[in-house]
């Protein structure tokens, strides 16, 4: 099939105002009469609040409102799944960074000073900072209901029989770190109430419609009176899926009656942002002499921090993805998501799959080595295919790409000639290695959650089209993909499609821009709306006063031909308008679900999966332990690629994010206190750290996706992490079982010391 727009590397439409600096992010907005807000944060990880005295702050000239829990009209709590996080704490704080009070003042400086005048008396409580300790009966309770947010056990097949059939069994423990999304735009925005009482919250978000629901519930106001504008946003990566500061903004604007702006400093953002769950993973995996996986027993402990948010769902995602992209006939998987006083863990690109894939892809290497098998062929042999049973026993009924993706990785120049690439390190004390790994990641929200996309296509009087989609553009490029999908169906130039996203006042609710779903779910909705628009264009031909008449039409370069008549889009718009028929079409797509839910595992399984593999060349300095990534190849199965430039952008950015996870990034929390709250001590990969990255696409088409597309926004950042740690082993024989692979850990491995630390 040939396409006019689909698959092409079309530059994004929003790039123009981004390169000129004209675009206004939500944290750039100002309004007449605007106040500045600040949030008072708890300095203690676990304490009772004995009193809050706001009188001095309130009395300070220039301070307009100071609010505490007593001023909250609705439910003083939020959370996507379980609402257990107070908007403003009343009796207890559970992490250093918990919100205690908010204020708004005439200037930033006054707000800063007034914040110091709020007097809170705390009674310190012993905290729990180790998730294993949190499970002990004598441990302090983060919440009264106990420290286990979610415990889930799933079995498939007969694990004893599986291990009995194994010739080699590998059992290892793995520890993963606590990175953060580190979007460059911190949480920020403006809220304003207009003369009709409509509250508008402008704040970077991945799901404005759900933000409106959560704001409404907390402030006790009908959702219909709340508008949330969520984009443009300066990066999100999962961290802006849950509420950040939207409710605080809303409270201040309502109480003051004036626009209020609130922007977190980087330090405040690091303290309070949603971090990736640190996990302790124990894997016991068996394989036969012939190289078939036979059994996989997994225990997962996840530190979810002080509040629930998506902690339970992320644990389930980890459970579903803990066999990697491989077929295992017998599995026994158990996991605990555990409350601690260690900040808060939540959604971050990969959603629980990064941690377990790192572990599984290390198991695969050890197994291959033990069996004397080629590590890539061993993977291909076990790669999931269409109609295989997944790790939880469910049949995989969509297009699975692991085998094709791994084969493409095996065919790369870097893999084929790895011996030569390794042969000439830059210094005598450095050693090179080549690593490979693969990953799958489910697209969409799984079995239980409503998962739909909605979009509208409107024919404008100018003869161009406006596409509206609720899923915000969070930087990933979904909006240009929507434009290409619409242009493909409507046979117009892509520049004639204008796309608006992420505004509850203007765009149809389409779900969240998370879970690698926005192209799949909302892209299908755009496709549907554009097809309806095509049909409505046909209705103009040979019909009287807008009555439906079946006419074959052909759309050619902005003109529609049918019944021997030839109209421009603008003429059709005028005709429809004269009939009062309207020129707006709505498309909806309800994502298909698996045949049945996995027993005891709420929301599992997913139906559609994207796949990625990475091949990477590293050089390890045996004197310092430093690992340099010299070259990376990312092989992506996104199904049909809608925008090649966008796919490459996701792949390259994901590769670097997963590289940071492998080598650098970890929020250090000691006794509940974050030790590295800015970029001078939380180190992100820079341009000099990053390798050249090549992206190869493998299009295993998924028939339920728009033009065959799946989502890969997350999976692109998953396989790189174990590819790097596997390359370190290939270089120097040090098996990394705890990430990040810091200099100290690599050196300890080189010296034969134990690298595994209790966390």
């Amino acid at each position: 099939m040939t396409f006019n727009w689909v698959g092409k590397p079309i530059p994004r439409q929003d790039a123009l105002t981004k390169v000129t600096g004209e675009v206004r992010y939500m944290s750039d907005l100002t309004m007449p009469g605007m106040l500045w807000g600040r949030i008072l944060r708890s300095p203690h990880p676990h304490a009772l609040i004995r009193s809050i005295d706001i009188s001095k702050a309130k009395a300070m000239p220039g301070v307009v409102v100071v609010l505490t829990h007593a001023d909250i009209g609705g439910l003083n709590a939020y959370g996507i799944v379980i609402q257990d996080q107070p908007v403003l704490c009343s009796d207890k704080v559970r992490f250093a960074g918990d919100s205690v009070a908010v204020l708004a003042a005439e200037t930033k400086e006054i707000a800063d000073t007034a914040l110091q005048l709020i007097e809170v008396t705390y009674e310190l409580l012993p905290g729990v900072f180790d998730m294993h300790q949190a499970l002990l009966p004598e441990s302090p309770l983060v919440h009264e209901k106990g420290n286990i947010l979610r415990h889930t056990a799933v079995t498939h097949g007969d694990i004893s029989a599986g291990f009995a059939a194994a010739d080699v069994i590998v059992e290892r423990d793995y520890l993963t770190s606590r990175p953060m999304s580190a979007y460059l735009e911190t949480e920020g925005g403006v809220a304003v109430v207009d003369e009709r009482g409509l509250l508008t919250v402008y704040c970077g978000s991945q799901y404005p419609d759900r933000d409106a629901t959560q704001i409404a519930r907390a402030i006790g106001m009908p959702k219909e009176k709340i508008r949330v504008v969520g984009n443009p946003v300066g990066g999100a990566f999962g961290g802006k899926d849950e509420i950040t500061i939207q409710i605080h903004l809303a409270l201040l604007a309502l109480a003051s009656g004036r626009p209020v702006k609130l922007v977190l400093s980087r330090e405040e953002s690091v303290l309070t942002c949603w971090k990736k769950h640190p996990m302790h993973i124990r894997m016991k995996t068996g394989a036969s002499r012939e190289g078939d996986l036979t059994a996989h027993e997994v225990s997962i402990w996840a530190d979810t921090g002080a509040y629930a948010s998506l902690g339970g769902t992320i644990l389930h995602s980890a459970i579903e993805h803990c066999s990697g992209p491989y077929r295992v006939p017998h599995t026994k998987i158990e996991g605990w998501s555990i409350y601690t006083n260690n900040s808060i863990s939540g959604a971050m690109r990969g959603f629980g799959a990064n941690q377990v894939t790192f572990a599984m892809e290390t198991q695969m290497e050890i197994l291959a080595e033990s069996l004397g098998l080629d590590r890539l062929s061993f993977r291909v042999q076990n790669g999931l295919k269409d109609h295989d049973l997944g790790p939880l026993g469910n049949e995989l009924v969509t297009a699975m790409g692991p085998v094709q993706t791994l084969q493409a990785a095996g065919a790369t120049e870097l893999w084929q000639h790895r011996a030569e690439y390794k042969a000439h390190p830059s210094r005598p004390w450095k050693k090179r290695g080549v690593g490979v790994a693969a990953a799958i990641k489910g697209c969409g929200l799984g079995f239980r959650m409503p998962d739909f996309g909605a979009a509208s296509v409107e024919l404008l009087p100018t003869g161009s089209f406006r596409v509206r989609v609720g899923c915000p553009e969070i930087g990933q490029g979904n909006s240009i993909a929507y434009a290409q999908i619409a242009a493909e169906i409507l046979r117009c130039h892509v520049d004639q499609i204008e796309v608006i996203t992420g505004d509850t006042g203007d765009t149809p609710e389409s779900g969240t821009s998370t879970a690698s779903r926005s192209i799949y779910a909302a892209g299908n909705a755009v496709l549907s709306a554009a097809q309806k628009m095509r049909s409505s264009l046909a209705a103009v031909f040979g019909s009287q006063e807008g009555e439906e008449v079946e006419v074959e039409i052909e759309i050619r370069e902005n003109r529609v031909v049918g019944n021997g008549i030839d109209f421009s889009f603008a003429q059709i718009a005028a005709q429809l308008d004269s009939w009062g028929a309207g020129c707006l079409q709505i498309g909806r797509f309800d994502a298909p679900k698996a045949a049945a839910e996995i027993k005891g595992a709420y929301g599992l399984p997913h139906l559609v999966f994207g796949t990625n593999a990475h091949v990477v060349l590293v050089e390890v300095d045996t004197l310092s332990g430093q690992v340099e990534v010299l070259q990376a190849v990312s092989v992506s199965d996104a199904g049909r690629v809608i925008n090649l430039q966008g796919l490459e952008g996701q792949s390259e950015g994901g590769t670097v994010m997963g590289m940071g996870y492998a080598l650098l990034e970890d929020i250090i929390i000691e006794q509940g206190i974050v030790q590295n709250a800015n970029f001078n001590s939380y180190i992100l990969p820079t341009a000099v750290d990053c390798p050249p990255i090549e992206t190869i696409t493998v299009e295993v088409l998924e028939e339920t996706g728009p033009f065959g597309a799946k989502g890969v926004g997350e999976v692109v950042c998953i396989s790189i992490t174990p590819a790097i740690t596997n390359a370190i082993y290939d270089a120097v024989g040090v098996r990394i079982t705890e990430i990040p692979a810091t200099l100290e850990r690599v050196l300890a491995g080189l010296s034969g010391a134990a690298t595994f630390s209790a966390r």
Partner: protein, 157 residues
């Protein structure tokens, strides 16, 4: 501290602001002059989102006090395009797909402009070093480097 009048040139226009001399140039640009293309990412000179050109040199506006720029020339992202004609770097960033969320883009473009002014034919390594103080979380830098190479090449041909 008392407010004083500080005069300087932004994007070829003389401006006069009344400010505490220790105010950050970043805040003056964003809040007094409404030049919000200059972003704040960390407030401590680590991320480069607030990069502007001070007498042609790339600096972090969060670390420059407004009192230091008296009589100096500053260029922000808003000053690059000539009307609707984009600067070659801006056009290259669009064409090469170097923009995703876009929050680092103004700083990246200005850091690249300072590089090319000094070294019109940079190697890939020189480009990487020149933008090493500018963090990007979306792109993996690959397309940003290509865009700078492409703009440098266009300027030569």
């Amino acid at each position: 501290m008392e407010k004083t009048t500080v005069r300087f040139v932004v994007n070829n226009q003389s401006v006069e602001v009344s400010a505490i001399p220790s105010a950050r140039l970043l805040d003056i640009l964003r809040e007094e002059l409404d030049l919000t293309g200059t972003k704040e990412g960390c407030g401590q000179g680590e991320c480069g989102a607030c990069t502007v050109l001070l007498e042609g040199e790339a600096v972090n506006a969060c670390l420059v006090l407004v009192g230091q720029v008296e009589g100096k020339r500053i260029e922000t992202i808003e000053g690059l395009a000539q009307g609707s004609i984009l600067h070659p770097l801006q056009q290259a960033f669009i064409d090469e797909g170097a923009v995703q969320c876009g929050y680092c883009t103004p700083g990246m473009v200005l850091a690249a402009k300072a590089l090319l002014a000094e070294n019109p034919t940079p190697t890939e390594t020189e480009i990487r070093v020149a933008i090493a103080g500018n963090l990007c979380r979306c792109t993996g830098y690959t397309k940003i480097i290509k865009a700078i190479q492409s703009a440098a090449w266009r300027a030569r041909t």
